[in-house]
Subunit: 404 residues, 2 copies
């Protein structure tokens, strides 16, 4: 009889957002008259910007004509998009990243889940705690994380780096040396960031100990403060120790469009093995390119009109963030984030657990958020609200929370 990958069976329960969806669905069935406001999952609500829509229609029209029809895309992405990204996201910021170091994909979630494949089976990972669950879960599936302790909700072979209010959300270098370091910056869920000087220390550390930083910059577009870097390649030496993962989901509302990219510099090597070549081989073998029409939409993100429209969209969400943050403060909550990221991270009141606060908020305010403990053990006692709703809903949710 065939046997399965036992590592999958070690994963406790199901994915965080599936659990939330189930709880909300149960609540809605029990209380069909209540109007729920969802500030839980980090999904955008604003429609695609006109420049994107125009590019999509144009690309669809090209697919209707034999002379302009596009079949298989290049596995690694169309030149027009890779060049545009290299120019706008890197060269314009003084980062030395060439177009052929950029790998276009169907999104940052796929890339952050798949990137671990390039590393040896016994590589040890370090993650900020709390953080986006995909990093740990994808390594669990690969058998890299040891055994699970349900009491502490930790894995024996994962190095957890607590980022809490006690250390101002800046992770410390771990005592044990990791081979892979996941940094999500601005961080999901805490909405906090590292300054350029702090990130430079991490780059130096990674180069010193021979580790690779997997830098998830999905929320980069929300950075408003001067001393927060937009790319890890702004730091000296990052080309020999860092992979950067980027998304179009949050800067351009592509959560349902699906487009992202990953940068693997050619200088990133272990002995003679080039992670760049390995990732190219993975794309060539297990991926068939991002769709043409999506890549044209991605290009439009960088057009003059696209940039102007998306700046407005981000300002809209960040206005929500400010409303939520101020409202929570006024109600006496201790809050973080919301300045360089669309996430507001709050300390639960009265020592409630994250899930207790989730239930309380759902039942009394009919507002859905995300329990901090779902992002790692040090997220216990915290709670995430997102600014991705409408302005009206953000206001309404805060009114309800204030009157709880």
């Amino acid at each position: 009889m065939f046997e399965v990958n036992e590592n999958y069976l070690k994963l406790p329960g199901s994915y965080l957002f599936s659990n939330i969806a189930k709880k909300v669905s149960d609540f809605t069935q029990a209380h069909p008259e209540k109007e729920i406001i969802r500030l839980g999952i980090g999904d955008v609500t604003q429609p695609l910007a006109p420049a994107i829509i125009e590019a999509l229609h144009k690309a669809v029209d090209e697919m209707a004509n034999a002379d302009t029809f596009q079949g298989y895309a290049p596995d690694l992405g169309y030149e027009f998009l890779r060049n545009t990204i290299a120019q706008n996201d890197y060269k314009a910021r003084g980062c030395e990243i060439s177009a052929d170091e950029i790998f276009v994909s169907d999104g940052a979630k796929s890339d952050s889940g798949n990137i671990q494949e390039l590393f040896s089976q016994d590589a040890k990972i370090a993650v900020c705690d709390p953080v986006y669950p995909v990093y740990v879960d994808s390594n669990v599936m690969a058998g890299r994380t040891g055994t699970y302790d349900p009491k502490t909700e930790t894995w024996s072979r994962v190095i957890y780096m607590p980022t809490t209010m006690e250390n101002h959300f800046v992770p410390e270098f771990p005592k044990e040396t990791p081979q892979m370091i996941y940094l999500c910056c601005p961080n999901n869920p805490t909405g906090t960031t590292l300054t350029k000087a702090q990130l430079q220390e991490w780059v130096d550390y990674a180069n010193r100990v021979g580790a690779v930083i997997i830098y998830d910059a999905a929320y980069e577009a929300y950075i408003s403060e001067e001393d927060v870097p937009h790319s890890i390649y702004e730091c000296e030496g990052a080309r020999t120790c860092a992979i950067e993962i980027k998304s179009f989901s949050k800067n351009a509302g592509f959560t349902g469009v699906r487009l992202g990219y990953t940068v693997v510099p050619k200088d990133l090597k272990s002995k003679n093995a080039s992670l760049h070549d390995m990732w190219a081989r993975r794309h060539g073998t297990k991926f068939n390119g991002a769709p043409y029409i999506q890549q044209r939409a991605g290009e439009a993100v960088y057009s003059q009109a696209g940039k102007a429209q998306l700046k407005e969209q981000i300002a809209y969400y960040m206005k929500n963030a400010a409303v939520i943050k101020q409202g929570l403060k006024d109600a006496g909550y201790t809050v973080f984030g919301g300045v360089n990221a669309p996430y507001i991270w709050l300390k639960t009141p009265n020592n409630m657990t994250s899930w207790e606060f989730f239930d309380d908020l759902l039942e009394r305010a009919n507002v859905v958020g995300t329990p901090g403990s779902g992002f790692g053990p040090s997220g216990e006692g915290y709670f995430r609200l997102t600014a991705f709703g409408t302005y009206e809903n953000s206001l309404a949710a805060l009114e309800r929370i204030k009157s709880m």
Copy 2:
């Protein structure tokens, strides 16, 4: 210092079609005046059908409006598409597959590369030889295939099942028992098929030995003969031993659109582990759903207009197949396929190797095909031509080949 996944380094050279692209590019640079006809890679050339274009435009317009905007898709696919597939591809053919056993993805290549993750590290795979290279390569990357022998171009832990003219392209049950059996049917590259009775024997065999058949039916729409099954679930007992992978690339020209699906029946279990639940977990963790606009395009494939238009498109390619097959026969070649698949598989003349014939065809006829040996050792001495070009090019290519 971090270490890489050594299995990647075992892969010999680069992916087949990259090699071909390089050879063609070198030839074009040396002979810029020659007009190349490409019957190599299996990429479509006809533009998307009007019903598909209409659905894409409509979906794009929905993304432009806050009331109809779609964010994250359900990980496993929208109900509207899963229901349509269940109805048209299964219920209408008498197959018992429910909508929640259908997992929508960004294409069959991703799914056929990723599906091996669900199996244990020491599972042994059996593949038809020759066959689509992704099955073996993705298992090499996972470390499941043992050591590579460059002389025989085989892996020590892969069971090769030769399908050649000697056994009429019907694989025999292997002597050693595999846990995973990849069947591509209609086969890429040979263009040959199994009858329903022959496939039933494989289903019975898999159930008997406790193996899983991974059934790649990407070319199903090209089947013209009555006794060839369109789905493995037409066979009795397939629900307990078979996964089916389907593509929209070849039936609807979606090579650059990217959409596919995989069926994992709930009855497919090893002890208490459900492959259905494991695949759902993989989608939830490492994939973020296929794009909304693509899923609407997929739905249009099954509309009345879509069906009629795509029937014509397939007839167009199959007319090319007939032209190529008859032309080769007239020129004295021994040929197979081209009846239930858009691939024509020919025996190279004068005992030339596959790559010798590739070079000869490129140099003397300026026609690009695919060397059979690129699909496995038993493909040596064969060559693949595809019917996916235009009718004019198919005719012209055959004229050139005849006058070689």
